[in-house]
Symmetry: C2
Subunit: 277 residues, 2 copies
Amino acid sequence: VVAAADGSVVASTDLLLEGRHFRQDWSTGYDVGRKAAAQNLADVAAMGAVPTALLVGLACPPSLPLTWPDQFADGLRDECALVGASVVGGDLARADTILISVTALGDLDGRPPVRRSGARPGDVVAVAGRLGWAAGGYAVLSRGFRTPRALVEAHRRPEPPYACGPAAAKLGATAMCDVSDGLVADVRHLAEASGVRIELDSKVFPISRQMSDAAQALGQDPLRWVLTGGEDHALAATFPPDAELPEEWLVAGAVSAGEGVLVDGEPYERGGFDHFR
Amino acid sequence: VVAAADGSVVASTDLLLEGRHFRQDWSTGYDVGRKAAAQNLADVAAMGAVPTALLVGLACPPSLPLTWPDQFADGLRDECALVGASVVGGDLARADTILISVTALGDLDGRPPVRRSGARPGDVVAVAGRLGWAAGGYAVLSRGFRTPRALVEAHRRPEPPYACGPAAAKLGATAMCDVSDGLVADVRHLAEASGVRIELDSKVFPISRQMSDAAQALGQDPLRWVLTGGEDHALAATFPPDAELPEEWLVAGAVSAGEGVLVDGEPYERGGFDHFR
């Protein structure tokens, strides 16, 4: 949150690198544009703000067909349109692979931001949006498959529940983040920032038929996708115990005194993505 | 300029890529931090705003010594301190070479932004800050030399005249930009956006002794550095003819009806840097 002379603006920034965050053979320029916008708009929504603008840096090889940046720009535009935001600036450079930076700005409409540090013992933990779908799509693509289509599409184009961010702020959310590194890893950020323990109940998470079928075919555990998969950009938040949550929010646990994250009462051995592991 | 509920924020973004925008053997991490901050803070100042915050993305190889990011962060911090700004957010990723994205935000303090499109025939053209120094330093380094030190330092750490940006707005500047691609190229942007011609008088530009000596030693033309060298992040602006300009501003030409850029009455054959030439 950057104070202005007479207001405030929420800002967040991300890098997306070809070969690390996306692959040209898995995603089109349009997909990458949608995803680059989505993950940054979700960051802003996770603070309770309404996204207003993106600034985008794009570096690419001269050999890249011009259709790619065109489609990328279309993807940015269409994702922004879902929340009424637009691309307001950028930079262009030459590089050997495609490199993207996105900064999102948002408006709090006079509300204080929802930070990561406000969770209190007794609060409930709730999530809005899909969990594990993008991880399932990634697992499918990694093994050379292109179906189930719903999972592959979820990897290519996340569908963050943008409106749930500002709505959570109005519902009194005490802490919030978007799920970009994996649910366990991200709620651990909330727990650490708030000085509390977060306990999750894995039985509440829906496992779609596509996820269970794909996981069985690949010999993987769909619950692991739910608990550790990033990139769906769901929202995870804590609310006072008496908050009346609409159906978009799935109550998935509780905040207690202590530290760390428990899943079904046990420490979860590994959670989420570490860039330098 | 991104409208907020009750105000506005100026935002600008840039990419800096190792091997293209900086080299580890020419610049330390501290130098790169200073420069990365400077070029974005200058962009914001060039709209008449006071820079308030940076968001910085950094991708680097795991093999990079940890001192590099530490020094880079120190450089960002020290450059920001010159204008009272600070780093408020960022992202970290892994890449084969060092990649940096910087987004700067700024505050207009209630003034309208100075755009590129407001130059009018009869206006004067003026510049604040150094021209050609960084280009001279680049030429020196490219030939394997490390002196004159003043030029090399100018390449490593530009010294934009930050305060001249908001001051120009108060002086009634009709159009402004920072000189990042080269003076001729950048005032061409003003001319095109404003639908006018800009005529520059090359005799007014000071050529320092270091520049003339280095240019002679390298067999180059120091005036070419002044007219086409980017990276000093000087400010170029147009003002109404009756504006009373303080000594920081060097009157270097005039705006007339027409199009394009003339230097000493002639079209200038080539001006500035094109990333995809």
